[in-house]
Symmetry: C2
Subunit: 107 residues, 2 copies
DNA sequence: TCTACATACATAAGAAAATTATGTATGTAG
DNA sequence: CTACATACATAATTTTCTTATGTATGTAGA
């Protein structure tokens, strides 16, 4: 029901960190959630590609220690996108909390 | 990413309300979330059928004002299922909040 | 040296879940 | 008699995620 959660997480991390590469994102999420949320590559990379195709992210490649890293950075449009996705996610989470914490209805 | 949210909402409502029928569930969710979450029939009915097939819900039909209502009620297994789904959802929401509320990292 | 594991990217096949579009049928209000 | 609300249901499509692969390099240990 909460669509685009992965995209929202990616955008938020890039808002806070300026530039990150895919593998780094998986490790950061794993670290921040103490292993409770593990991003799979099969979900992450297509999501990154889509965000780039949509114009929210831009990329540049650097070779570090002989391995290529594809860095992602927010575009200006991406900056707007984060704000809108974050408030959307918050609104949904708030409503969900409301529904799931319901007290029994006493008749 | 949060799979089974709709099922969790349904199960929680039935835990609080003992018995409900499909249309009633859509109206209750709409009312509680002031229209922010609207369940579509195409999602709701298949979800109810699946929960029944899984043994979490049982049904009985009543005719009210000439219209048939198919009521759903939690089974004992469904009662266990609610608890487990609720704590799973809460854990996920907590981690998501953590990720989405991150402060910028000052370097 | 060879093996295992971590780093780093990517795609394809399939499953799961939702949206959108229909369809049936009855009651009520104008 | 028309429109809208009530009440259920399914089919087609789309979206999103999981699982399974595949390539390639660096590092640590046996």
């Amino acid at each position: 029901m909460l669509k685009g959660t992965l995209q929202t997480i990616i955008l938020k991390l890039l808002e806070d960190n300026n530039r990150m590469y895919g593998y780094e994102i998986t490790q950061k999420v794993k670290e921040l959630t103490t292993g409770e949320i593990m991003l799979t590559e099969g979900a992450l990379y297509p999501a990154l590609h889509k965000l780039e195709a949509d114009g929210s992210l831009e990329t540049f490649t650097e070779v570090v220690d002989g391995r290529a890293r594809k860095y992602y950075r927010l575009t200006e449009q991406g900056g707007d996108e984060v704000k809108s996705k974050l408030s959307e996610a918050q609104a949904f989470i708030d409503q969900l909390q409301l529904l799931l914490n319901l007290k029994p209805i006493v008749k």
